[in-house]
Amino acid sequence: MTNAIQVRGLTKRYGDVQAVKGIDLDIRRGEVFAFLGPNGAGKSTTVEILEGYRKRDAGEVSVLGVDPGRPTREWRSRIGIVLQTANDAAELSVRETVRHFAGYYPNPRDPDEAIAAVGLTESANKRVRQLSGGQRRRVDVALGVLGNPELIFLDEPTTGFDPEARRQFWELIEGLAHTGSTIVLTTHYLDEAEALANRVAVIAGGQIVAEGEPATLGGRATAKAHVIWDEGSVETDTPTKTVLELSRRYDGEVPGLAVTRPTLEDIYLKLIEAPRD
């Protein structure tokens, strides 16, 4: 099966700012792929080029077998988009908005079911203007998944979500992935990337600085463990042995004992430090 997204040597410049400096990417069909990276790294630029919004300067790009620089209606109907920012259609109610947008697609989801999937059933008759920031964002997500897309782009979809809404969103994404949709998202929440993504790419300064499964990214799986207790700490490849020794030394319980591996966040912070010098 062909890749859902294939990118070779993608570049994009705004005036003096080289926002994307040569990105290569293969995203398989059915994969959940997350972009991580600091503010201004080039995530939105990359994603919006893939969505057919922005013109690239150079590189080859194929999204569902089509060059996004020449989008067609048919292609658009197979793609769902959640943009990073939007504050439109404020005078319509949630239900009116979702029903209206469902009409654009040849094979839409049931509008009320889409509203329920983002947990807005209770607010369905409220004007979009009256929603809270997080509720507004959920409307964006509902509109993004409305067309039963084969491929969904979500640019920081859960910004402003409360913890429960975030979990609900994760379930929605897992459900979509379960039906075979390809999902590309950007996020600043590393737990989100870890929970959802099969693969992540870290972008910094317009380049991909690391790519892989969240569990193994940047050598995470083979990194040394940290053993900490009240009177000291060591980094070691054999934490079990260390703990046994400590236990013998203290003759039982080790005061304040903790064994940690680097979190995705530790790895991430190390990765994005590198290209800044």
Binding site: Y14, T45, E48, E51, G52, Y53, R54, R73, E74, R76, S77, I79, I81, L83, T85, A86, N87, D88, A89, A90, E91, L92, E96, H100, F101, G103, Y104, Y105, P106, N107, R109, E113, A116, A117, G119, T121, R127, L143, V145, G147, N148, E150, R167, Q168, E171, L172, E174, G175, L176, H178, T179, G180
Partner: protein, 283 residues
């Protein structure tokens, strides 16, 4: 938490179903646009109240008859303000509306869906037609009830009204669409678009008769559609008696059609070449 997509896998049919037609989506957008317009109370007041207040004001201040024509000044204003009202709906409120759509992400969101782009414009045209029609009805009602304006009895006058209205609204709407690309943001749109419109109303004979205006101003006004639209409406509502008030002692309906038609074509070309689906910050 049970009502997520997890349990109910949406069926993805492999056979592609037909895309909804542009006309159907255009009508659907027209309904949504109109609904949104009337829910935004400030914009409704801004659009409708301006010509109404001006008509009441001018109609009361300058109430006398005009010599030898059987036409009163307030009747003249009614006809002129109908032209201004139609232009306001097409040019001003549409131009500001589209600039807002560009700024708040409406256009960007729509461009990301499979909606055919023509559906957006069909929706806007429906919206403008509804607003302009209501405006004319209200102004005519005021004219008839307060200023003894007689509604024309002949079918031919209403035919004239129909084509002046349709050509006028279309030209104004196309110009409004084109001008919407000028302001840098929604905030500046009201100023950038309203200013030239107010000036145009003053030089196009809406408030001040051409007989009191220097020739060079009349020449400038003659380039733009508002003068001709107002002239067309005067032909409909003031009748033969009012023709002698015109500069050329005639309503020149053939030239009205010509100039408005030219603006329709010019406006269309302008829109097709300059319309931006993106805001200035969208890369």
């Amino acid at each position: 938490m049970t009502d997520t997509a997890t349990g109910t896998a949406p069926s993805r049919t492999t056979a592609t179903r037909a895309m909804p037609s542009a006309l159907k989506l255009g009508l659907s957008r027209g309904m949504v646009e109109t609904k949104m317009f009337f829910r935004e109370k400030d914009a409704v007041v801004f659009t409708f109240a301006f010509p109404i207040i001006l008509l009441m004001l001018f109609g009361s201040i300058f109430a006398g008859p005009l010599e030898g024509s059987g036409v009163t000044v307030s009747q003249l204003y009614t006809a002129g303000l109908i032209g201004a009202g139609v232009m306001g709906a097409g040019f001003q409120s549409l131009g500001i509306g589209i600039a807002g759509d560009r700024d708040d992400g409406t256009l960007k969101r729509l461009a990301g869906t499979p909606m055919p782009r023509s559906a957006y414009f069909i929706g806007k045209i429906i919206n403008v037609l509804v607003i302009a029609f209501l405006e004319v009805v209200i102004l005519l009602a005021i004219g008839v009830l307060m200023y003894d304006l007689d509604l024309p009895g002949q079918v031919s006058s209403w035919v004239t009204f129909a084509w002046v209205f349709v050509l006028g609204v279309t030209a104004a709407a196309l110009l409004g669409t084109a001008v919407s690309s000028l302001p840098r943001s929604a905030k500046s749109a009201a100023a950038v678009i309203s200013m030239p419109f107010v000036v145009l109303q003053f030089i196009s004979g809406v408030f001040i008769p051409f007989t009191q205006m220097p020739e060079w101003l009349i020449n400038i006004a003659s380039v733009f559609p508002l003068k001709w639209m107002c002239q067309g409406f005067r032909a409909v509502f003031l009748g033969d008696g009012g023709a002698m008030l015109e500069l050329t002692k005639s309503y020149e309906l053939d030239r009205v059609a010509l100039v408005l038609g030219a603006w329709v074509i010019g406006g269309l070309v302008l829109c097709l070449t300059t319309f931006r689906w993106k805001g200035r910050r969208d890369g």
